[in-house]
Amino acid sequence: MNGGRWRDGWRELRRYPSALVGMVIIAALVGLSLYTVVAIPYPEALDKWRGGEPWRLHPVNAGPAWADRLSGGRQARTLIVGRGAEVEEAPFAGGRRLRMALAFDYDFDGFPSEINLFLRAEGHEQRPFARLLWQAPDGREISLGGHRIGREDRVSISQDRALERRLGGRVPHIGLLAEPDGEAMPRVQKGRHVLLLDAVVFDDRAGIDAELVLYGRVHGIAGTDHQRRDLRLALLWGTPVALAFGLLAAVGTTVTTLVIAAVGVWYRGWIDAVIQRLTEVNMILPVLPILVMVGTLYSTSIWLMLGVVVVLGIFSASIKMYRAMLLPIREAPYIEAAQAYGASNLRIVMRYMIPRILPVLIPTFVTLIPTFVFLEASLAVLGLGDPVLPTWGKVLNDAQSQSALYNGYYYWVVSPAVLLMLTGLGFAMLGFALDRVFNPRLRSL
């Protein structure tokens, strides 16, 4: 019917650089969401984001690696030592003696954030016993004490208070790797460090497994949070969630509102009056408090929130605006012509009235999307985010509850915020340009 108008609109739209930038941003976000949904399946993302075991080799609150590279410093990355380490065996009566050297070259400028030793001994009747010895590159030897090894054990070397005292009051993950010069600012002793594991095993065949983890201060492109979770997962999965929420909410509210406005205008009389009164009631209902109420009292599922947003948006104030636009259309001759050929009421509303104001609606629609994206984030920041889904807002909420800004973990706040801002900017830039193209009142300017 008005394909030419659309084509003209597109041609005109291309003249606005802001529209192009907006479209590029939106395309990038859509591409990112598609990649995410394919690369990290939904159940896997939920499962991982619950935290715990999958993240035990990740550091706590590590910054993004690129930020470290930008600042020029060479902060510690996570080192995992132990896979394929050589084992020396010496049998004796009633058991064997195993010696394992976990050696690594440490040449970062900064210290690690934590050191853990994961020991595993499966199939033993009697628990093996291991003695740990740290050998620094300059030949010093520091005993880390002995441990009886269970089936799966985690030796938190960083938490060893006795060791800390022996290292002159330095936390083990600093003291073990520092030059022993006793200066106030510890310096890293670069070179080959070895953790010697000397174990006595009371079994003929079963061996032991050891894994030494020196957690870094930086990790990946997004860093990690207080539960060792990689923020990359939440930032990636936040994209499709945000886009879906924004899009569905915008479609839900604009389409229903438009149809209801058109129905009211077409039928007039009491239907119109009821719609008008409902709109007025809805204008007085405070939306955010109700959402907060629903979130706290019922459930914080994102889909329930979406439903409430759409329901509250049905009789929104924009009905008045659409009404004003539709009223003159109702009297247009072509509607009369349609009536003359016997078109049904439904057909007139859906095929003749609504399409006429769609072009004017598109800019509003596009600018509405970021509002809902931010609404979701707002709810999450209030602690009413979806309980299982990783979203940008939830990352912000975690960051706030862990006082990320106060502790200097700026990346934790900045990266979800930048993504939110990009989404907002992308849609808003396109929307504003569309407004100038499609809004007849603005076109003459």
């Binding site: 405070p286 955010l288 209030l382 706030q400 801002m421 929307g431 300017l445």
Partner: protein, 371 residues
């Protein structure tokens, strides 16, 4: 022109106007009262989860009564039967006090009529900073903080944007004009979002301003010091709200003024050679006054509901953060009370809008309540 539309003598015209205005006012008041009624009732139903909160409360009352009896040494050597009866008696007393024995539908109507009369009852868990348990006191204590912050922010945004927009529409197409238009999409982010960044920069990176709260702790003694402290705490939230809405507001006003300054009568005035400030005041501002007032009041409406998160982020002790805490405590009377106050404020704003509209727009005055 028909007879009825002939212009009557001035005195009678004034009477007619007043009569129409009165009829219109009464009609609007009734309609608004009805809308407040409906929205408050909806809130009551939602806040009570349609009566399900009562079941939770019943369980809580029972466990509290049992705990109290068990912990009291006076009842220690009471036989089990008797103690059970005592617990039951206490529970039924409490149930009667909270009137949980009546059906929810009945109570909701009762809640409604008391809420409408602003008898908001007593809070279940929360109390005001002065220690009062009256919901009314709790809310009234918080109201000034919200009004202070949001009132000043909105006034600032409104007047700045109208003024700047007028200037820009005069210099349509200049570099400044294009710059402001390019910045308009930044308003996609809400105030709290800018708030986080402002806190990051001005409270942590360069520690100039406080990160939250309303006054320093302990509050300064002198009146002027107190005001200065409040002002310092207000600066960041104010800036956050200002940043988040100023550009889009300038943009829309500028478009609005541009559209109206291309009207034929404005062109005519220009052709006559009238000075530009006269054109602005008489030919652009006067005819557009009612839309300007409308949007100002609509902005006020938006202000009431948008407050929660910004207050939460800045730890501002206003209505929004009160409501959030009340919802967390499941303190239904406070929730309902806050929403009732919200609804009344909104309704008052809408009413004010209607009256101003009637005064500014001659059509309403002439046609009275018939719209």
């Amino acid at each position: 022109m028909s007879d009825s539309q002939r212009i009557p003598p001035p005195r009678r015209a004034l009477w007619r106007d007043l009569r129409h205005l009165l009829a219109y006012t009464v009609k609007r008041l009734l309609a608004l009262l009805l809308t407040v009624l409906v929205s408050v009732y909806l809130t009551i139903v939602i806040a009570n989860m349609g009566g399900r909160v009562d079941e939770l409360r019943l369980v809580q009352i029972r466990s509290e009564a049992a705990e109290a009896v068990r912990a009291d040494p006076a009842f220690l050597d009471m036989p089990g039967e008797e103690r059970h009866a005592l617990i039951e008696r206490r529970v039924s007393l409490e149930v009667e006090r909270l009137r949980l024995d009546q059906p929810f539908l009945l109570r909701s109507v009762d809640y409604l009529q008391r809420a409408m009369r602003l008898e908001l009852g007593r809070a279940e868990q929360m109390h005001s900073d002065r220690g009062s348990r009256e919901v009314y006191d709790i809310i009234v204590e918080r109201l000034p903080a919200t009004l202070l912050l949001f009132g000043s922010a909105n006034l600032l945004v409104f007047f700045t944007s109208v003024f700047v927009a007028l200037t820009l529409s005069r210099r349509y197409g200049s570099a400044l004009d294009r710059g402001v238009i390019a910045l308009a999409p930044t308003s996609a982010a809400p105030g709290w979002f800018y708030g986080i960044f402002l806190i990051l920069v001005f409270a942590f990176v360069i520690p100039l301003l406080p990160a939250g709260g309303m006054v320093a702790a302990p509050p300064p003694e002198g009146r002027w010091e107190y005001a200065a402290s409040v002002l310092r705490h207000m600066l960041l939230p104010l800036a956050a709200m200002f940043l988040s809405s100023i550009f889009v507001s300038i943009y829309s006003w500028r478009t609005f003024f541009l559209i109206h300054s291309s009207e034929d009568y404005v062109e005519m005035a220009r052709a006559k050679g009238l000075p530009s400030h006269l054109i602005e005041r008489r030919y652009i501002l006067r005819p557009t006054l009612s839309p300007i007032v409308t949007s100002f009041l609509l902005m006020l409406i938006g202000l009431w509901s948008g407050a929660i998160i910004l207050e939460q982020v800045f730890n501002w002790p206003g209505l929004g953060s009160l409501l959030f805490r009340a919802i967390g405590h499941r303190d239904t009377p406070v929730i309902i009370g806050a929403v009732v106050i919200f609804a009344y404020l909104l309704a008052a704003t809408v009413f004010l809008l209607d009256i101003l509209y009637a005064l500014l727009d001659p059509r309403v005055r002439l046609e009275g309540g018939r719209r």
